[in-house]
């Protein structure tokens, strides 16, 4: 399977799903109508691990339900491999779903659950038997076919739900926060497994989550949603390093959002004046005319603290939290705002870094990102 897939030329990759100005309004016409999705346009490539990321209520689950066919769009089109799927009921779409709470059929065995879709498609009995067996092996549960689904642990139910969806060889697999009900250790294990499964099967995965870490580690590309609108679409590193706006910057991990005014240009950088007078050099984005108000995003791990005297800004440590691999500091700048700083806990680090101490705060030119607005 692996070998066969690795021979597929990359340029054969097409578009699996295309959304054209999709709008979904619940309770249309009534006073309490809610716009869950607002003019969402998006193209998801074939064989892609695509993540819809956003806080609860951002419309990501609605988008998934539109793709599965449980809801119909209010306006706009959904194209599945080029064909409009409007009006196509869920059972006629080559799409399967792994539900948030698995939704395994409690009156059936594990094998019956996995076989359900193939039975509904009236596949040959022997073929169903073989597929069920290979699927259970794929999810590492080869000997549990005769168990009732109610006898399984959360992680096992998760695997059965995956096997049940994958058994039908869907062209697109939708995953609705499938890891949210698992404990941390299992969740981290399943992340790797899901990623591997996606690569091995070559099926387009559309993964819904509110967990930015999950999104960063698993996805080929991420779409960040907020209040029914797409904020940014891109690869994990682009989303993290080049957030399009303060919401994305803040949602994708911790960041310091600093209001600033653009000052004079300096080589390929531009001076940004923080409130209080401190200055940071940042790479301009578009035309950053001098005097315009912007927001800077400064990741806590991009700031370096030093107890020695020398160049850089001066600050005072107001809070210090030991976190194992790193230590999180709150530093108030002498002539600027408070900053969140992460320092790796390597040897010799942390000398003279206790609360109340004065430190040098080093911010490399270009470490801060200029965000629109």
């Amino acid at each position: 399977m692996n070998a066969a897939l690795s021979q597929t030329p990359p340029e054969a990759v097409g578009t699996a799903i295309e959304l054209r100005s999709v709008t979904k309004v619940f309770g249309t016409g009534s006073a309490e109508s809610v716009t869950a999705l607002d003019e969402v346009s998006l193209a998801i490539r074939d064989n892609e691990f695509f993540t819809l990321l956003g806080p609860s209520g951002c419309g990501k689950t609605t988008l998934l339900r539109l793709l599965a066919g449980f809801e119909q769009v209010t306006r706009g089109d959904i194209l599945l491999f080029g064909d409009d799927v409007a009006g196509l009921p869920p059972h006629k779409r080559p799409i399967n779903t792994v539900f948030q709470h698995y939704a395994l059929f409690p009156h059936m065995t594990v094998a019956e659950n996995v076989a359900f879709g193939l039975r509904m498609l009236r596949r040959d009995k022997a073929e169903i038997g073989r597929t069920v067996e290979s699927m259970l092996t794929l999810v590492k549960m080869p000997d549990l076919g005769e168990r009732k689904s109610s006898q399984l642990s959360g992680g096992q139910q998760q695997r059965v739900a995956l096997a049940r969806a994958l058994a039908n060889h869907p062209r697109v697999l939708l995953l609705d926060e499938p890891l949210s009900a698992l404990d941390l250790k299992l969740r981290q294990e399943m992340r790797l497994e899901l990623k591997t499964l996606q690569r091995e099967t070559g099926i387009t995965f559309i993964f819904v989550t509110h967990d930015q870490e999950e999104a960063l580690t698993m996805s080929d590309r991420i779409a960040v949603l907020r209040a029914g609108r797409i904020q940014q679409v891109g690869t994990p590193d682009v989303i993290y390093e080049h957030p399009a706006n303060p919401f994305v910057a803040n949602f994708m991990g911790e960041t310091n959002l600093l209001p600033a005014v653009i000052g004079a240009a300096e080589r390929d950088m531009v001076r940004c004046h923080l409130e209080g007078g401190a200055e940071i050099l940042a790479r301009p984005v578009g035309d950053n005319a001098a005097g315009s108000r912007i927001t800077l995003s400064l990741r806590p791990e991009r700031i370096v603290l030093s107890a020695d005297s020398g160049s850089g800004l001066t600050g005072r440590i107001t809070d210090c939290l030991y976190r194992g691999t790193d230590t999180s500091y709150r530093v108030t700048l002498e002539n600027g705002p408070e900053l969140l700083v992460y320092e790796q806990n390597v040897a010799d680090r942390g000398n003279g870094m206790s609360v109340g101490n004065s430190v040098r705060v080093l911010i490399a030119p270009g470490a801060a990102r200029i965000l629109a607005g």
């Binding site: 599965a68 059972h91 059929f105 879709g117 109610s150």
Partner: protein, 313 residues
Amino acid sequence: MAERHDAADRATWIDRFSSLPSARRSLILLSPAFALIGAFGIAPLGLILVYSFLVPGTYGGVVWEFSFGAYIQFLFERDIFDGTLAFSSSYLQIGARSVILAGLAVVGCLLIGFPTAYFIATRSPGIRNILIFLVTVPFWTNLLVRTFSMMLILRDQGPLNSILMGIGITEQPLSLLYTDFAIGLGLLYSFLPFMVLPIYASLERIDFRLVEAAYDLYANRWRVLQRILIPLSLPGIAGGCFLVFIPSLSSFLAPDLLGGGKHLMIGNLIAQQFGTARNWPFGSAAAMILLSLVLIALMIYARQAARRDQDAV
């Protein structure tokens, strides 16, 4: 002084009670329930059982003389001239009619009751409660009154015939009243809520995400019903069937009024024997036969339910 003495007495009484072995203690605590069941359940049933083996008195009542006569009478007819016994199916026919009509009532109630229960279970919680309340509204009126109103609806000049003739389905009024059809309709109407309520209770507990999962896995509406909704609501369906079948089988009002007393069911037969026919032993025997039919049906169900539970574990 006297009060304190009482309190001390009570304390020793409670102490003595709590020091009894737990089996004895629960026996004492259960005794009121046993007395109630004994006086109002087992004693009357025992009386009927005893009566069924006695000889009828001339003006009702019984003569204390052991006899299988009542049971023999159910199957055989004694020739009034030479006293020989000949097989007679007339009472068996009443029994068969009872089972068939009760069975048809179950089927009818199921066909109407399941969709109704499904409809109610898929509404929003507020509307659900109103609908369930509406289902129970008929119970607020006496069954006799409701059966009489069924007579008015079904009779030759009744609204049903007017409608049928009005839309040109029939020229002459159909004689609907005093037929097996009328009895069946009466049973269906009387006991439909007993089907709707337990099925609703089962359906309401089903996680409807399972239905979505089935649709997602290529099941159409019919398959979802067949593979998900019916299996998961089976306890409610079985309960509803019994709650309709048992009272239908022993129903007395519907055949008496809607069947005009011409189409007897076993309930009418029993009532007659204790009333006009004054044959208490035969009435008792018929009641025992009815009871056995119901018990057999319940046993079959219990065995299947046990097997299903075993599968589920």
